[in-house]
């Protein structure tokens, strides 16, 4: 009878060992893992990753770079040069901590709020800005705004429709195993994304096919103006994994070290063929949803001020200082330096030319069909006519 399901006959309770496993999973899914507290004190030694000091310094530097490029994107948006930016201030620890343990040949499926992850994967600030400005060097060739990615770094360009990368990441993970690779896929998404069909079908397929995948939910408490409690009535996001026969863990997403530790374990597990894990990283979006948002309409300032004490960079710095790895002052120096560097880069990218006027005809098909060729010629004619009529691009 094994074909019909987990049970020899379905007309009985689930076996005791499954009940026990689920009890354990429930504990993790409703619990909260943390290695380092807000004051930089180690609260759980066993959750500290065993990594050299140099790695800790690297984590710090990536988080700093994420914050710096974030602030530059904001600035460039205000200057009218960047169409839209989704700030990641306050969430640097998740993006960096979750991406650092991966191998270059693992695939990352990001969302739009993981600057730290893009940097860790290898994108430079210049590449980020080229993309944000959609200038001639934009690797995504002016297709969409606010998304990043580059095949070179096995960083798959994010979708703007929230969450629809999830089933893709599951399919890619299946392909990895099928092709005999020992790589994994790691996917980032937000608390809001867990409400979409994509989360459900993605996680369900992941459970059924036991793919080598790790899912990291950046639960930053808000989906634009919709608070976590309105998003779903489940007490945590992590518990949703249990619906798919997949373990779900909940941890402090503002503690880069616990993120590093737990993700590297989940990644190893996936790599060993032991199936996927959903990790709920509890964090908080300190900025607006995007540069087009006005959070004062829906979120009290006190909440943000209250949440600032959980802010991840300050916490890491306290930890580094307390452990004699880096002083506050050295840390600030790192930040100042990156700020200077990015200023130069910004100057450079701003003077790059724009994409060719007919760029949107590229990459619709592998081979250009007749109707695109025809429209390409049409645009040439239009451009000539615009010149004749003395019309600028804005018409």
């Amino acid at each position: 009878m094994s074909k019909t399901g987990l049970l020899d006959t379905p007309f009985k309770p689930a076996p005791q060992e499954i009940l026990e496993q689920y009890r354990d999973w429930l504990g993790e899914a409703l619990g909260f893992k943390r290695a380092v507290d807000e004051e930089g004190n180690v609260v759980d030694e066993s959750l500290l990753p065993k990594i050299p000091e140099s790695k800790l310094v690297e984590i710090h530097e990536y988080m700093v770079r994420a914050r710096v490029i974030d602030s530059w994107l904001l600035r460039l948006q205000r200057m009218g040069r960047v169409a839209l930016h989704a700030p990641n201030k306050g969430q640097e620890a998740v993006a960096v901590g979750a991406t650092m343990p991966l191998r270059p040949d693992d695939w990352v499926f990001p969302s739009y709020r993981e600057l730290g992850a893009y940097l860790v994967r290898g994108m430079s600030e210049e590449e980020i800005l080229d993309r944000a400005l959609a200038n001639a060097d934009d690797p995504l060739k002016g297709s969409d705004f606010a998304i990043y990615g580059n095949r070179k770094y096995n960083l798959v360009p994010a979708p703007v429709p929230v969450g629809n990368q999830i089933p893709l990441a599951v399919g890619a993970a299946y392909a990895m195993r099928y092709m005999g690779r020992d790589t994994i896929s790691l996917t980032f998404f937000g608390d809001g994304a867990t409400s979409r069909g994509d989360f459900h079908v993605g996680l369900n397929f992941a459970g059924v096919f036991k793919v080598p995948a790790v899912f990291v939910v950046q639960n930053n408490q808000w989906a634009i103006s919709v608070p976590r409690l309105r998003q779903t009535a489940s007490p945590t996001i992590a518990v949703k994994a249990l619906a798919y026969g997949v373990p779900g863990l909940r941890l402090d997403g503002n503690d880069a070290l616990v993120v590093y530790k737990v993700v590297s374990e989940a990644a190893d597990k996936a790599r060993r063929g032991e199936g996927p894990t959903l990790i709920e990283a509890v964090t908080y979006r300190l900025g607006p949803h995007t540069t087009a948002d006005d959070p004062s309409r829906y979120r009290p300032e006190e909440e943000v001020r209250h949440m600032e004490r959980y802010e991840p960079l300050r916490r890491l710095r306290k930890f580094l200082e307390k452990n004699g790895i880096m002083t506050e002052r050295e840390a600030l120096e790192v930040e100042r330096e990156w700020d200077k560097r990015v200023e130069e880069i910004a100057r450079k990218v701003l003077s790059k030319p724009e994409l060719p006027k007919d760029v949107f005809f590229e990459n619709v098909y592998k081979e250009e069909p007749w109707f695109i060729a025809e429209e390409r010629r049409d645009l040439e004619e239009v451009l000539r006519l615009m010149q004749e009529l003395g019309l600028g691009d804005s018409h």
Partner: protein, 325 residues
């Protein structure tokens, strides 16, 4: 008469309809405190409370499916899709349920639902904040597809849509949300679905358009008149489906020349239907080929959107072509 932009006019229509009929509710992502990302639902939650102005979880499938259930039960929900580009998750519900419940149930049930949201380009929104996807809906029997070109129409059309007993996909060109201000009557007027409007009379060419493209068409009509003395009749279709055939035919009886301008892509865009229909049934009226001016058949780009979409030069050229044929 107060002067309003389109956001204010839509907001007014929603408020008035909610006051008039307790079955009308608004739902969607961020429609409550946030008032929607373009503020179309601003303040409604204060007046009508969270039971009638419902912030939903982040799922278009959920929003539309849930709203259909309300409508089946007798309510008149207005579901906001934050950007119409995100509607595809709800496609099964729109086709199989919203559009076809009346048919499927032998007329026992109906889905008086409005699915509204910002559409179209012109704000550097890129692929997923710029789409004009009305063709998918126009091809789906059972739906009305509406797109206003200004505040006055927006208010009257939204009211009609809310009162309609079928599902209406109500598309709001976001680039003109705040750029056009008009006097908007304070009284409870409606604009019937399915009726276009002659915005500019003329005798040489019939120029059919709607939404933000209406304004490009008007500019082009003026330019053509200035340059050549051609007299262009401009029709604002307002309802894309079912389109106002009689109005178009009547105009063609005068002009014999037809240009259709829209932001949706050309291949199987609404202009293809109008063109095929008119040539099939009214070829006698035509002095030459019908011209379609539409966006190119690629995804909507972030870069150079003004070259991708219809613009003044393209519409002007089409007018010249039909005049000089």
């Amino acid at each position: 008469m107060p002067v309003m932009n389109m956001v204010q006019a839509l907001n007014t229509a929603l408020r008035e309809e909610m006051e008039r009929d307790s079955r009308v509710v608004v739902l969607g992502e961020d429609v409550g405190r946030r008032g929607g990302v373009f503020l179309v639902t601003e303040g409604l939650i204060d007046e009508f409370g969270p039971e009638r102005v419902i912030d939903t979880p982040l799922s278009e499938m959920g929003i539309v499916g849930f709203a259909i259930g309300m409508a089946l039960y007798g309510m008149r929900p207005v579901a906001e899709i934050q950007f119409i580009d995100f509607i595809y998750e709800a496609f099964d519900h729109i086709v199989n349920n919203a559009a076809w419940y009346r048919f499927r149930s032998g007329g026992m049930y109906e889905v008086p639902l409005v699915i509204r949201g910002p559409c179209c380009g012109g704000i550097k929104g890129g692929m997923h904040h710029s789409q004009s996807n009305e063709p998918y809906f126009q091809h789906t029997p059972g739906l009305y597809v509406v797109m206003p070109s200004g505040p006055r129409d927006a208010k009257g059309l939204l009211k009609s849509s809310i009162r309609a007993d079928d599902t209406v996909v109500f598309l709001e060109p976001k680039s003109i949300y705040r750029t056009i201000k008009e006097e908007v009557p304070e009284d409870d007027y409606t604009i019937p679905l399915g009726e276009g409007r002659i915005v500019r009379e003329g005798s040489d060419v019939t120029l059919v358009s709607w939404g933000a493209m209406l304004h490009v068409s008007m500019e082009a009509a003026k330019l053509a008149e200035e340059k050549h003395g051609w007299s262009i009749e401009v029709i604002d279709l307002r309802t894309i489906h079912p389109w106002d055939r009689d109005l178009v035919v009547k105009s063609l009886e005068k002009t014999g020349r037809l240009v259709v301008v829209h932001e949706a892509r050309k291949i199987l865009g609404p202009a293809s239907e109008i063109s095929a229909y008119i040539s099939e049934n009214y070829i006698d009226l035509l002095r030459g080929p019908i011209k379609r001016v539409a966006s190119y058949d690629t995804p909507f780009p972030l870069a150079h959107e003004r070259l991708y979409m219809p613009n003044l030069a393209k519409v002007y050229r089409a007018i010249s072509e039909v005049m000089e044929w």
